[in-house]
Symmetry: C2
Subunit: 417 residues, 2 copies
């Protein structure tokens, strides 16, 4: 049997008999001829056959045929004089037409039938872009001397906060799903100086919103020997620029220097722009993030904006304070098109500072014993960030719901497929 | 302040004053002089200082000094006329000496203090080799047209079998931690044809052995449009060869064609070699795997051996039978230095075959409804494999316990750190 040719490679075989294999994307039977579009991982190809008798859409077939130039055909060529072989049973009709330019189905139907809906070229493309973005992320950090790590997802105590955590029965003991690799990546700065992890994190989000998931893919990085959070932001800029470069067709530009505004200045700007007065609030409202992004695009031509120096009150206990500005922190968010895409900052690195920070919040150090112990044994000034992959892809492609950028989403209501 | 130089780059700065930063790896105070070895992510450098007053081991410091050639010093150079700055509090002494060529501590102590033990250069190296191996795996599969995916780790029913699964309270419902991405990667063959995933899998292993973990990192791949399991084995060979090439210092050679022996022939060989008669057994005992590996090394000069055609009785229900040999399957294991490293094979791809396979095992199709549905909608012949990262690294480096190849292992007894 002649070996399989991918559809994308057909232009190199005009005039030859080849074998392609894929799914019957579309079958149109006319009076004396049938037009069949075959879909493989590389694209779509039209096959023209005399008569009828072709299997229904989504059946897997292999087709031998003559590659024939035809300016009217999609891609200006088609397969003629075909012979067909079935590689699957004739397929049952999917709950929506996969051959239409857009999936005509509501989000619940799309997600209930995710494995089929993902076959639609526009759905599929979301995840090839996500995969390329992750490759770009790793490539940037590998080039900067980072080491990739894999840390426990089953932990003995809640990491980020006591709420929103999934409990597990761990050999008869109580355990939890990790909400982030935060403590591990910090500890590993003591080993590798620079680490990253691409992996699942788990949040028992009780809210049913368009931007929260019970499991998402977190791109985490942490680095030692920083002066302050600006060293972390510089690495993040490289990572995001490399992610954007990995998907050139999307056309997002990350400026050489991403504009930056301090939280306090951002609040003043919002007050001037909107007439509202957010001063005294410890965080930014979603509408204010959008307003700041508009400002950055207008004033700096940038779709990205760093907001720095968030008040200590709203940041986690391991956040490093701004030594020059009481109440504020060496932390940042990166806004992208009106939405918080990344959170990061410098962390505390002295053991005594951790003990004091927990005491100030009225928390016992006991649940953090292993974590705190690391800081008693010599840890450099360090910081890091976490970027949600699904949020990135959704924002990049203008998808209104983060579930559209998740292969098989998990949320308050959804545990299958 | 002059910018930091990594220790590995010092040879380019002989005669210059530079700044290095890292951990006090070793401090030796003589009568009038102190020798300090500083450790950073790139290596070790000796600093020679008049007098005493240097902080204890593991304290994080920055040192400015003159790079001076000295044939007696490690690396033939040292920093003289140093001035020192503290970047952490003076460190508490670790529970073992990190500066000795080998960690003198038992495995429980090493694992109880993992974040510190990992600072030992020989411990650290295990995980830089693991990271490079994963990069090699991805690089091979990216080059072969695979797409990287991220699938749910929280699932509604046990995947591989009902046993050894962790239960979760999922918003008041019962859910489970995924034992593998098996069903998702198969479904995604219907979308991308070729997929891989690097991620955590979870096994509630009730056995306390040197080769089982409750969480490990699985390198999973699955590909469509195969003739049989040999197409899967060919991709696996490329992946493992790329992993080995990524760690050239380890010196493992993957043959162009990995030798292969059928399960039935393997049993006859074992009978001849050992005098035992394993025929009739549906699987290989660990001692028999070792014996087969010895044979492959002796007869074929290969540390890798494919055993193919395992009896259907011991393989999961989705295994494709050998159409020419009743009772046997189109499956394989890859043995590496006497241990099963990879399991894989061709899968069923017709809906009716799944229904029949489950019925033959007396299982209801209901828990597999979403999974089975995919096969009613056109799936090509396909197959795949799963490789345990920690097992690979342990075997590669001759570590007797897989926990030594895990940053922070999880097992029957261990939930921290």
């Amino acid at each position: 049997m002649i070996s399989r040719v991918l559809v994308a490679d057909l232009p190199r075989h005009v005039g030859e008999r080849v074998r392609i294999a894929g799914w019957v994307h579309r079958r149109r039977q006319l009076k004396t001829v049938t037009f069949v579009v075959v879909r493989d991982r590389s694209g779509l190809a039209q096959v023209v056959a005399a008569g009828s008798g072709w299997p229904p859409e989504e059946t897997v077939v292999e087709v031998e045929g003559l590659v024939t130039a035809n300016p009217q055909a999609p891609g200006a060529l088609e397969l003629t004089e075909p012979s067909i072989g079935l590689l699957s049973e004739p397929a049952e009709p999917p709950p929506f037409d996969l051959y239409r330019p857009r999936l005509r189905a509501g989000l619940p139907t799309v997600l209930d039938n995710a494995a089929l809906a993902l076959r639609h070229p526009r759905r599929k493309e979301v995840f090839t872009i996500a995969a390329a973005s992750v490759a770009g992320f790793r490539s940037a950090l590998d080039g900067l001397g980072f080491t990739e790590t894999h840390t426990p997802k089953i932990v003995s105590s809640a990491t980020e906060s006591g709420a929103n955590v999934f409990g597990i029965d761990y050999f008869g003991r109580r355990a939890f799903l990790a909400q982030s690799p935060q403590f591990y990546k910090q500890a590993l700065v003591g080993v590798f100086e620079r680490v990253y992890e691409v992996g699942p994190v788990f949040r028992a989000e009780p809210h049913d919103t368009a931007r929260h998931l019970a499991q998402y893919t977190s791109l985490d990085a942490e680095l030692g020997f920083v002066d302050d959070h600006h060293d972390v932001m510089a690495v993040l800029r490289e990572a995001v620029a490399s992610m954007a470069s990995a998907v050139p067709a999307v056309g997002v530009v990350v400026p050489e220097v991403i504009p930056e505004i301090h939280f306090a200045d951002a609040q003043e700007l919002i007050a001037r722009e909107t007439g509202e007065d957010p001063r005294g609030e410890p965080d930014l409202a979603p509408a204010h993030e959008r307003s700041l992004s508009d400002w950055a695009l207008r004033e700096h031509g940038s779709e990205f904006l760093f907001v720095t120096g968030y008040p200590m009150a709203k940041r986690p206990f391991y956040t490093h304070p701004d030594p020059g500005r009481p109440g504020f922190s060496n932390s940042f968010d990166l806004l992208f098109r009106g939405l918080e895409l990344v959170t990061g900052g410098q962390r505390l690195h002295r053991h005594d500072d951790y003990v004091a920070a927990l005491a100030a919040r009225g928390e016992s150090g006991e649940p953090y014993r292993d974590y705190l112990d690391v800081f008693a044994h010599g840890m450099p000034p360090h910081g890091g960030f976490a970027l949600g992959l699904e949020r990135w892809t959704a924002r990049l492609l203008g998808l209104p719901n983060v579930r559209q950028a998740t292969l098989f989403p998990r949320d308050l209501h959804r545990l299958t497929p």
